[in-house]
């Protein structure tokens, strides 16, 4: 079976999941099967088949599993968001379509992703600019003390989602070129030339702690940097040194930046009586929601998100559609369902790394590995936040959380990975290799 046919078959379970999920939610909601669920399923299938045909035409050799896995996550996200708020689900579905359009546009207009190397400094500058945008008065602003979003009119935009791609492209390109310098000699000489970039990115991560005040984003960026650095140089000493610097910096800021400090206190003592109804309410409620899910969960649409207080409905789990969507998933599908979702992410990341393994040139390898790593780290940061592995921060769960920026950016990640893998597998096939 050709790679593309495998991809097409991979889409069948996705469509079934959407239909089944919507049906389950609708049954819980109105105790009857509604034709809406079938409509949603067919619409989603239509979009995916279109994208599939597009990939068949433009990237015939690309990895057959990446797209169905991404679609599976997006479909799952749609069902969860539909269950939380139908209006948001409609918007998310629209963003999904826009995302697919951007996905196609990336493939059509970029043609050869290697041209990105030429613009690496422009991309790096733009990315840093994007990251700082939320601090610009007028369009930026803090949510829960972190500067993660900008508002233009009624549109909300999370620049970090796109900045992460830009930074990875820059790092892949920069380290492809300088890796020879960095690995020369058995012990790297301590010189600005060697440690310049490392210091620069560390500085950037620390800057993010100060400026956007978001530990999650800074773990994501710095982690991606260390990952690419390690792949490029094979020097564990860089990673260890970098990690140590990051930890030192974080500890310093946790003690000296009030907002970061508060986040850490909440993380360590979520049930402290003076915090549990105010600042640690969100994480405490997220944990309660997970405890309520147990092994098998309460079923699609069964999670309690609102509480009747004096005749009014009060939200019991804040940011259920974004930050804490993983808690809703665990609540409704239990430990097994949540582990299943993590497994899908793992498979997606695995295909990303596989793409990196198969790529022939340094830039492609570093870019694919970097994208896969930043994707994995994003999952780790938000799921780890909701499960109290690390302090909870406001990044999205890729493809699943509500949010236009997130969907669009992740479709670009998907497009880039597919382009790299198309290139890698094409040459592989031409050489007669087994794919």
């Amino acid at each position: 079976m050709s790679a593309r046919s495998r991809e097409l078959f991979g889409l069948i379970p996705v469509t079934l999941l959407v239909t089944a999920g919507f049906t389950a939610v609708l049954i819980t909601r109105s105790s009857q099967i509604n034709k809406v669920s079938i409509t949603y399923g067919l619409f989603f299938l239509g979009c995916c088949v279109f994208a599939h045909i597009f990939i068949r035409a433009r990237l015939p050799h690309a990895d057959p599993y990446l797209f169905p896995l991404g679609a599976l996550l997006a479909a799952f996200g749609l069902v969860m968001i539909y269950r939380i708020d139908t209006t948001l689900a409609r918007q998310q579905a629209e963003w999904f379509v826009v995302g697919l359009v951007l996905f196609c546009a990336t493939i059509v207009f970029l043609r050869d992703y290697r041209t990105l190397e030429r613009y690496r400094y422009t991309i790096a500058a733009a990315s840093i600019g994007l990251l700082l945008l939320p601090r610009v008065p007028g369009i930026g602003g803090a949510t829960n003390g972190a500067y993660l979003a900008i508002h233009i009119g009624s549109l909300q935009f999370q620049p970090a989602e796109f900045a992460k791609i830009g930074i990875v492209i820059f790092l892949a390109s920069y380290l492809r070129e300088t890796r020879d310098v960095l690995v020369r000699g058995r012990i790297p000489r301590i010189s600005l030339k060697h440690f310049g970039p490392l210091l620069l990115v560390w500085g950037l991560a620390m800057l993010m702690l100060i400026f956007i005040r978001d530990l999650g984003s800074s773990i994501m960026f710095f982690g991606a940097f260390l990952a690419i650095l390690y792949v490029a140089t094979a020097r564990l000493s860089f990673v260890v040194g970098g990690l140590a610097m990051f930890v030192l910096g974080s500890v310093f800021f946790a003690n000296h930046v009030p907002h970061v400090h508060e986040r850490v206190v909440i993380w360590l003592h979520p049930f402290r009586p003076d915090l549990v109804e105010s600042s640690s309410y969100q994480i405490a409620q997220a944990l309660f929601a997970q405890a309520d899910g147990g092994l098998f969960g309460r079923g699609f649409g069964q999670s309690l998100l609102q509480l009747p207080v004096g005749g009014k409905l009060v939200t019991i789990l804040p940011a259920a559609h974004t930050d804490t969507i993983y808690a809703v998933i665990t609540n409704e599908l239990g430990l097994f369902g949540a582990a299943g979702v993590i497994l899908v992410y793992l498979l997606f990341v695995a295909r990303g790394f596989k793409t990196a393994l198969m790529a022939h040139d340094g830039f492609s390898k570093l870019l694919a590995a970097g994208l896969a790593a930043v994707f994995a780290l994003q999952v780790f940061v938000i799921v780890g936040g909701v499960t109290r592995v690390i302090p909870l921060t406001g990044v999205t769960l890729p493809f699943v959380s509500y949010g236009g920026s997130s969907i669009l950016a992740n479709f670009v990640v998907l497009a880039l990975l597919l382009m790299i893998s198309n290139e890698a597998r094409r040459t592989h096939t031409e050489r007669g290799g087994v794919v």
């Binding site: 105790s31 094979a234 049930f271 929601a289 405890a291 340094g362 780890g384």
Partner: protein
Amino acid sequence: MNKQITHLFGVVLVLFTLLVVFTSRWTVFEAKSLQNQTANRRPLLEQLQIPRGFIYADDGTVLAKNVRSGHGPTLRYSRTYPTNELFSHTVGYSFITHGSAGLEKEYNDQLAGNANEFSSIIDELSGQKKVGNDLHTTLDPAAQKLALQLLAGRPGSVVALDPRTGAVKVMASVPNYNPNSIPSQFKRLNTDQAAPLFNRATQGGYPPGSSMKVVTAVAALDTGRYTPNSVVSGKSPKILGGVPLSNCCTEGSGNYGPLSLTEALAKSVNTVWGEVGEKLGKKVMFRYMERFGFDSKPKLDLPSDELGVSGVYGSHGQLLGPSDAIDIARVAIGQERLRVSPLQMAEVAAAVANGGKLMKPRLVDRIENPDGQTVDTRGPAEVQTVMKSSTAQQVTAMMEQVVKAGTATSAQIPGVTVAGKTGTAEVANGTSNQAWFIAFAPVPNPRVAIAVTIERTQGEGGTVAAPIAKQIIQQLLKGNG
């Protein structure tokens, strides 16, 4: 670079495993402790989505049921009590906002359907919704209604049981409250001086007055130290516990000559029973009191904090025993610092009525699942043998005389032999009385044992409490076999 990429994937694998480990921690290993956090409102909310079991009276009258609202995730059940204040203290209430009381609290696990750990796992696997089990009580609504009518708003209590089985038929406490008004009126009810939320039948601690003489009589005869015909001087005053005790100003009055115990019980002569108590001594008196259930919580199926302990209380609210300085002569006639609950006095009557065997008092007869299958039966159970059956027979005969020719003639029922004992304890510095009547009928095979008490009345046991007992006994004998 491929080696590093593989390593990197290994790191991701470790990180993701960590996520699953932490998810397991919250969903499984620490789920119970998270559910017990006070900030966690989910368990409460979950209860709102479970149709609680109904509570029924012995004739099938629904005492507690549910009102359903919403559907799907907004589905809610709330409690409603069709008989309003009829069984307020016994059935109690259950509201998310104000907690629970009474049977609603005691049997919450059964009513909410979380009694069986195993079946709840099965339910979880099959996605089955939890449903509560129904309680079938022993309560008799007609007799209860009559009891409330007869108390007529006067603070007091009536407890009636079947002495053969311990089944509680009537448990009235006035003032009472309408459980349906708990959500809106709780604060007022909770701060009301008249304490309507307080279950006088089980929590009330009253001086028993002469009704205590039944306990003293049992101790006197069962030890073999006295017979019903033993003669004791009824002179008044008499030095007892180092202080003169007189017969004046309680029931009957004045100075008697030598009296048989039977006559002394019928006339309720304090100086006779005081002397008997003092002769028996603290040890014997306490032994018999404890056999009747004094000094420990009643075995009734209500929440422990709604049950009071009958006994002699010290100045710091502590229970006193035979080794403490107690005027046992006055304990024997229901004075001193003796505090008893109406339930305890009903059990005293029931133990004599049942040939000396005290049965465990119980409100719930059986628990049924929604399919009508009985999942648990609370059958009759003996607490202990309080006295020999011959003693019970003798004391019964003495108590018959109380009704036939003594202080409780107002409790006579044509065609039915009633055995009883009045009690009138002075309270509020002698300005008013705590009136009592304990009784059982029909002799020789009693089916009803009863205790009636009225707070701060000008009347006496024989004039205010006995007539109430009489009518409730009639009602209960009409009702059951």
